[in-house]
């Protein structure tokens, strides 16, 4: 391919031209191209970053507390993110310089109906309804575990409807657009019982765990969730839990 044959005609000619073949060596060219390809391959970003949308509530002081939309204790699930602490102290425990995230939750009001404090303001450890969960992926058989299991149980009614829609979408009864609008409707359906999830995080927890828990909201089609600040009661419960579950 890379050679040109210059034949000496049919041989009948007077001049006996020598048969010559010109080889063009492409090896340096290939070398150079490979170098350039390597350069472009290393400098290119093929995958674009993904984004996660967040809407925080306005932090203007609400004058009329009555007007605030309050989550009923039945629906409320509070999730608290924290970093793993060292045994016997509240210092953050790290593995290879990285924080290990922990996730806690309680349902309803802090401390249940009786509250975390008695009339004198003492902490009532017995009322602490905080529980520890874990970030876990699905089991091999597709069942959920950890914090996801809890969220799915609380959001059962919505998920049943969403799964029906998914099935219809798989059978191609509805297209993507219809699926999107219908699933949106299901998520907003007031008749279905769905939880209101309040996400709180201690200062020591990592940003990665926040994204992780926001992910869970998306995976489990939670329509009502918010990021909130830790209150005194939350901190008291967390410390109380950690004090009681220390080996």
């Amino acid at each position: 391919m890379a050679q040109i044959e210059t034949g000496g005609g049919d041989g009948k000619g007077k001049s006996h031209q020598k048969k010559m073949s010109i080889h063009v060596d492409f090896t340096p060219m290939v070398d150079m191209n490979m170098l350039l390809i390597t350069f472009f391959m290393l400098c290119t970003t093929m995958i674009k970053s993904q984004t996660l949308n967040i809407a925080l509530p306005s932090n203007e002081k609400v004058e009329n507390v009555e007007n605030m939309s309050q989550a009923s204790a039945d629906d409320a699930v509070t999730i608290i993110l924290d970093a793993k602490r060292k045994k016997g102290s509240f210092d953050v425990d790290t593995v290879n310089g990285k924080v290990v995230n922990e996730v806690y939750y309680f349902e309803g009001k802090p401390g249940g109906d009786e509250g975390m404090f008695d009339a004198a303001g003492n902490i009532l450890s017995a009322n602490n309804n905080l529980q520890k969960a874990e970030f876990l992926a699905n089991n091999a058989d597709g069942t959920s575990q950890g914090i996801r299991k809890l969220i799915q149980q609380r959001n059962k009614e919505v998920l049943v409807e969403i799964n029906k829609l998914k099935e219809r979408f798989r059978k191609e009864e509805i297209n993507q657009e219809q699926y999107d609008s219908l699933s949106k409707k299901v998520r907003r359906d007031e008749k279905l019982k769905k939880p209101v999830i309040i996400i709180k995080s201690t200062n020591q927890a990592s940003y990665g765990s926040l994204v992780q828990i926001l992910d869970e909201m998306q995976i489990n089609s939670i329509s009502k969730y918010q990021i909130d600040n830790m209150t005194r009661v939350d901190s008291v419960m967390l410390i109380d839990y950690q004090n009681n579950h220390r080996n």
Binding site: F26, N33, Q50, A137, Y207, S209
Partner: protein, 238 residues
Amino acid sequence: MGRVQMKKKSTFIDMTAMSDVTVLLLTFFMLTSTFLAKEPTTVVTPPSVSEEKVQETNFVQVLVSPEGKIWLTMNNDTSAQWSNERMRMELLDKVAEIYNESHKNKISFSPEQKYAFSKLGAFGVPLANMGEFLDLAAMPEGTTKQDEWIQGKTEKVTGIPIQKEQDELHPTEFQMWMKAMRQTNNETLAQAIKDGTGVAIKADQNTSYEIVHMVMDNLQTIHMNKFTLLTALKTEGE
């Protein structure tokens, strides 16, 4: 003694086909590549299942280092009217205006300094030092010095000042910049900021929540309640 006559073989390998392939590959990479922007710090964004792609134009990127330092990048339209260079010059004017409202030591920038600012990618030095920073551009090896400054390799302060305690009357410099972004003439950007697609926070997954919370809190105070978090696509399972 019979000598085995070895046939002389040419070892010439025809490279033409190989060359064809490499040129094709090269063309592909050249046409599809978008180069990584130079950033003052490298962060690993947390993985997420979200499949929404990051927008290409009209957004402000807030880069947060694990130590709590902040740099900003402003991405405008590709059209000439709202080009990055023009809008950055305007941005610098606006931020100086906002800064002078609340500080006794007034700052102002010369046309040369503004021009230097328009050429910056990610920026983030305290406004009081901004003039000095921009003057570096005119010096020999100025951009290298600027990079070193912004990456924190010198003893000079890098990152846009931000603090936890703030209110609308006493904005932090970070808030001033964000306000200035909203006030530039590029209405598409202002609208995007309002919709929440215009502000993207890029932070490392191991950054403590305290720092990210501070940034979010600062944004909340100036009524930028909606924003996006940059994430990477999750690889394993769900």
